[in-house]
């Protein structure tokens, strides 16, 4: 069962989005190619924190003009709950934030299945501590412009000893827009109603803006009333920041062990992702990769699972079928449109050279910003149910083959006629190295914070 526009409130004409007040990171895809840096700040002095914010404000890109060349690169800024406390926000404002945001991602570990190697006590510092207060995400299309913006960010901190840079991570696009496993990703995002983003076939109907930006009606027809006051809330949103280290050598080695030919290795890997390396979806090309299809934005999302109900093409457990079920759960008791969020992924670290099966000990992976106004029903729901559980697809306790975190025998089932194939003992291909819940205010709200007495 899906709620396709059945709600009469959801049929109302959508208000126009205030694009010049919403941070570009929320609504706009990263540039291609991209490079950039995440910078983590600790704020020990509220006054200086506000000064820093007012200096940085001119470089924070809005969603309407992010491509304007007057800015050599663009910057996004978001705060943890500890950060908003460090900025001395009024107590009534702090109290009005949603509970999960106040608790922070580390405190939600049992709900998110961030246990074992993924547990907060194993995270890189400063993640999961009370020290990370603000995160800057700086995006650029080349190193020169990136350095120019980093210089400005550095300038913004001049003479402010109460602000410390406590984390830095460079990120960049890998060749052909692949992820460290060699797969093209970031191919799908929900369409935000009124955002003006280009819509390709297969992206589904536009989702109400209130699911992604505070201040607009959401899928249930409700407009957020928190956090308080409206000046702080308007055009802001929440994000889950996740740093995921990828174990590429373990992935390749496992495929080598399970397959009897290079072609079969590629097929098993594609079954796990739901797409071939080129991005071509299994549903549209079940037997072999199709580079042309993978590269064609007008076709590489134009599919559903209605003609693959037995999952003989794309397994029920495949990563993309889990995290974005499209029509696969039609007839099930779930309101799929309540569980969308925007994914802004970036890669870090050098690629592991082609064919290498030996781990080189280099940290490589992806950082994901999972953006939406309802962290519980969006990111937390998808993480705890569709990634961590198998019951909803009649697969018992089987988890996502790529990003699952199974403490027992990790399995992956590939439906096949007459007898399914089940892989056992999948190693951990991805480890969570840290994460935070952040509030990403609108531009005017940033000014409101900067000008607080």
């Amino acid at each position: 069962m899906t709620n396709k526009n059945e709600n009469p409130k959801a049929m109302q004409v959508a208000p126009a989005l205030d694009l010049c007040d919403i941070q570009a990171t929320v609504l706009r895809p990263r540039p291609t190619p991209y490079r950039g840096e995440y910078v983590g700040l600790r704020i020990d002095d509220a006054r200086q924190g506000k000064t820093m914010l007012s200096r940085i404000l001119p470089y924070v890109a809005p969603s309407d003009e992010w491509w304007v060349p007057s800015l050599p690169a663009w910057l996004g800024i978001a705060f943890t709950y500890e950060g908003l406390k460090a900025l001395d926000l009024p107590q009534a404002s702090l109290d009005s934030f949603p509970e999960e945001f106040k608790q922070g991602m580390a405190a939600r570990a049992s709900i998110l299945n961030d246990v074992g190697v993924n547990a907060p006590e194993n995270w890189e510092r400063p993640f999961g501590t009370k020290d990370l207060h603000a995160t800057l995400a700086i995006y650029s299309s080349d190193d020169r412009n990136l350095d120019a913006v980093l210089d400005r960010a550095r300038y913004a901190l001049l003479g402010l000893p109460g602000i410390s840079v406590i984390y830095r991570l460079r990120f960049h696009e890998l060749p052909d827009g692949r992820n460290p496993f060699g797969f093209r990703d970031g191919l799908h995002n929900p369409v935000v109603e009124g955002s003006g983003s280009k819509v390709y076939p297969g992206f589904g109907r536009p989702i109400k803006a209130g699911e992604f930006v505070l201040g607009y009606p959401d899928e249930l027809g409700a407009t957020a009333t928190a956090p308080e006051p409206e000046e702080l809330r308007k055009n802001g949103t929440f994000l889950a920041f996740r740093k995921l280290e990828t174990h590429v050598a373990a992935f390749r080695t496992y495929l080598r062990e399970q397959a009897s030919s290079p072609e079969e290795e590629l097929l098993l890997a594609a079954k796990m992702f739901g797409r071939w390396q080129s991005g071509a979806p299994l549903v549209l090309s079940p037997e072999h990769d199709d580079a042309e299809l993978g590269a064609d934005l007008s076709r590489n999302n134009a599919f559903g699972y209605a003609d693959d109900t037995r999952a003989l093409k794309c397994p029920f457990s495949a990563h993309i079928r889990r995290v974005n079920p499209r029509d696969a759960l039609a007839g099930e008791f779930v309101a799929v449109d309540l569980h969308h969020f925007l994914r802004r992924g970036t890669n870090y670290g050098p690629p592991l050279p082609e064919g290498v099966l030996q781990d080189d000990g280099v940290d490589r992976g992806g950082v994901f910003l999972l953006i939406g106004t309802h962290l519980t029903q969006q990111f937390e729901f998808v993480q705890s149910q569709w990634i961590t559980d198998g019951n909803f697809i009649n697969s018992g306790t089987e988890q996502d083959p790529i990003i699952g975190n199974d403490q027992a025998d990790k399995m992956f089932t590939i439906p096949k006629a007459p007898i399914r194939r089940r892989l056992h003992g999948l190693p951990q291909f991805v480890t969570l190295k840290g994460g935070e819940y952040c509030f990403m205010p609108g531009l005017q709200a940033l000014r409101w914070i900067a000008e607080l007495p």
Binding site: N3, E332, E380, S384, Q385, N391, F392, N394, G396
Partner: protein, 165 residues
């Protein structure tokens, strides 16, 4: 009690403390609600047509069982259920997909705010009762797994029947 016996759960997704016990992935829920004047009569009348609702409850596929009873001279309602872990995560889905059915069922309770009202969480917290003991004979098996097991067993028996004839 063994080590995997019932334990109290962490906070539910909405931040409300869920007082139910769990054993393995099985969860229990017990609530005692005050009934409105005449509510008991209306509940009895509704219960007569309960059979019509069974299909839609099956559809949820995570509820093992539930029961309800009226007590204290028709002034209170007891509702008890066992459900699969993860159910809490779907509460928003319930209030989106079948709000009217839920409100119809609980609407005779005094002070019931309606399932779409955020006040529903504090209302539940106010009247939920933590059980002292919770036992499940199959704490690690979900409703779906039981149904699947039944189908597989039937097919297997059928295969044996054919093999012997």
């Amino acid at each position: 009690m063994s080590e995997n016996a019932a334990v109290s759960k962490a906070a539910s997704p909405e931040g409300m403390k869920d007082q139910g016990l769990q054993m393995g992935q099985a969860h229990e829920f017990l609530i005692l609600l005050p009934l409105k004047e005449g509510g008991a009569e209306r509940m009895r009348a509704k219960a007569k047509t309960f059979g019509d609702a069974i299909k839609s409850i099956d559809h949820i596929a995570t509820v093992h069982d539930f029961r309800y009873a009226i007590f204290d001279n028709d002034t209170r309602l007891l509702f008890a259920s066992t459900y699969d872990g993860g159910f809490e995560q779907y509460i928003k889905d319930f209030s989106t997909l079948i709000p009217d059915q839920i409100d119809e069922f609980f609407g005779d309770s005094e002070g019931y705010p309606g399932v779409r009202n955020p006040e529903i969480w504090s209302y539940i917290a106010k009247y939920q009762l933590q059980s002292l003991v919770f036992y499940s004979a199959y704490p690690d098996v979900t409703v779906r797994q039981i149904w699947k097991g039944q189908r597989v067993l039937a097919a297997f028996e059928n295969l044996l029947d054919q093999a012997q004839s």
